[in-house]
Symmetry: C2
Subunit: 331 residues, 2 copies
Amino acid sequence: MPRIALDAMGGDHAPDNVVEGVLAALADGPASCEILLVGRTADVAAALDRHGGASSRIRIVEAPDVIGMAERPMVAIRGKRASSVTVGVGLQKKGEADAFISAGNTGAVMAASRVLMGLYPGVERPAIGAVMPTVGKTVLFLDAGANIDCSPRELRGFAHLGAVYARDVLGRTQPTVGLLSIGEEEAKGNAAVKQAHQLLKTETVPFTFLGNVEGRDILDGHIDVVVCDGFVGNVVLKFYESVARLFTTLIEREMEESVLTSPAMERVFTKLDYSTYGGAPLLGVRGVCIICHGRSSARAIKNAIGVALRAVESHLSQHIEADMADRGAVA
Amino acid sequence: MPRIALDAMGGDHAPDNVVEGVLAALADGPASCEILLVGRTADVAAALDRHGGASSRIRIVEAPDVIGMAERPMVAIRGKRASSVTVGVGLQKKGEADAFISAGNTGAVMAASRVLMGLYPGVERPAIGAVMPTVGKTVLFLDAGANIDCSPRELRGFAHLGAVYARDVLGRTQPTVGLLSIGEEEAKGNAAVKQAHQLLKTETVPFTFLGNVEGRDILDGHIDVVVCDGFVGNVVLKFYESVARLFTTLIEREMEESVLTSPAMERVFTKLDYSTYGGAPLLGVRGVCIICHGRSSARAIKNAIGVALRAVESHLSQHIEADMADRGAVA
């Protein structure tokens, strides 16, 4: 039975949203898993009491320290070895959990994962993938902000990591992968993108390489994976928030109350809120690590548990390791 | 009286949208200007007839060649010296017009402007500025795609060009300028952005330098100018289209016909359509050049004429030249 560890202390609404999300996941699904809630036992137990949740499938793992959202990652994980982040990440290393989910300090989760779990051979840098809504199927967008100033080889690596994730977790049997640029022609792009294009074009890849795609293509629903460096990725994802807020504000200014509160409008706003899509996988580390938005709702946590389960059950980690080994053999 | 030249052959709906936009501008405003319609005389005259427009303030300037939207810019402007783009840009050089507006091949307009009009001393590269809607006042976003792989000095130059434009044309007396990055701290960003931050922080600038701003800040209405390289700018602007399309599709799927066709929803969609905001200025070239979207409506052309007039009447070009000269003195 898969064992999913959660950072019970991470995020703006912890531990209550985490506990609620866990209970919803357990109540909901036929999927069978064990939950490890990592954090201050008293706080977590109290939250479980508040939400009426006693379950033989939930266990609390004591972690007395908490890393704040604004703490510097490396300083925090070195200084707080008994934090919910470091203890939670460490469970996979010790073979006591199969996945870790956190809505806490993203940098700390990344740093702990790299330091405690390590990277697969062949992975230059781990990437964060964000799953976004489109007019059709969702799109995996990476790197979402972990890696600035990426080399062509690193961009190529993100394409591989993203394709394995799209196949295993998003269920795309032959994933399509596009390289984010400013024109479809292979000569268009900045220096790193143009070279990454050549690397991907000239190797045999276990996915369909679409070549360059443009900003307007990201959400058009026809691409499974969009690859960019973390600077562009961070700007685009945060810009998405900005556009969503503009849209919401305009609608609220112009439309009548009856329209604003209608179930139809509710569905629109829910679909636009990509933070509910179940968290962002940290890809390339030895294990399954899902990073959630600091403002995650119980629903977002529940969705992240679903994502983590799919990652474990589809053997995502093993497939990434195999893909990297194949690349190593031909590189 | 300001003389505004327009590329009558440029864009998907030329010459009719251009002619309609001109007639609307002349009918509408107290602003007094002379219009030069550059293109094939017979085509332009026929369009004027179709839209009932005879005016002593409109003159046709013959240009027998047309540059297609997909032609390679430098090849096109060298090969078609009698095109509406080259003739139109050339009018400013000859002192026969004060501004040029085109919805045609953007690369060709840029190349012709650089070659025929030249750059102000101190301008490393011209930038394209896009004016976007926000929840408050509009924001000037540059470079919108003209310059890939920018140096820190070039990014600094965009901040200066943008600030002069914001003051003269957008009416911001003390413009605020932000450098697009992935965190507010000055140590956050890619290599070029971090160095540009230091350049702008340590010089005396005739605007308020806000330091780094993030993707989520672009449309929040508190910033007058957002600076980035043209790779990021192009991706963000095209992504904006993608998000706007996602919104529109979701709304159309979910809402009833009565809501979709309401004036309130019309206002929302109009506000989101940044292509109507009056075109993108090409900044740094010796003169006034406004680039419009290839799909520009008559309304967009009319708005671009308003923008060109403000640029001419506010002496934008002279102010850019003076700003560059001041920088040259201290650099």
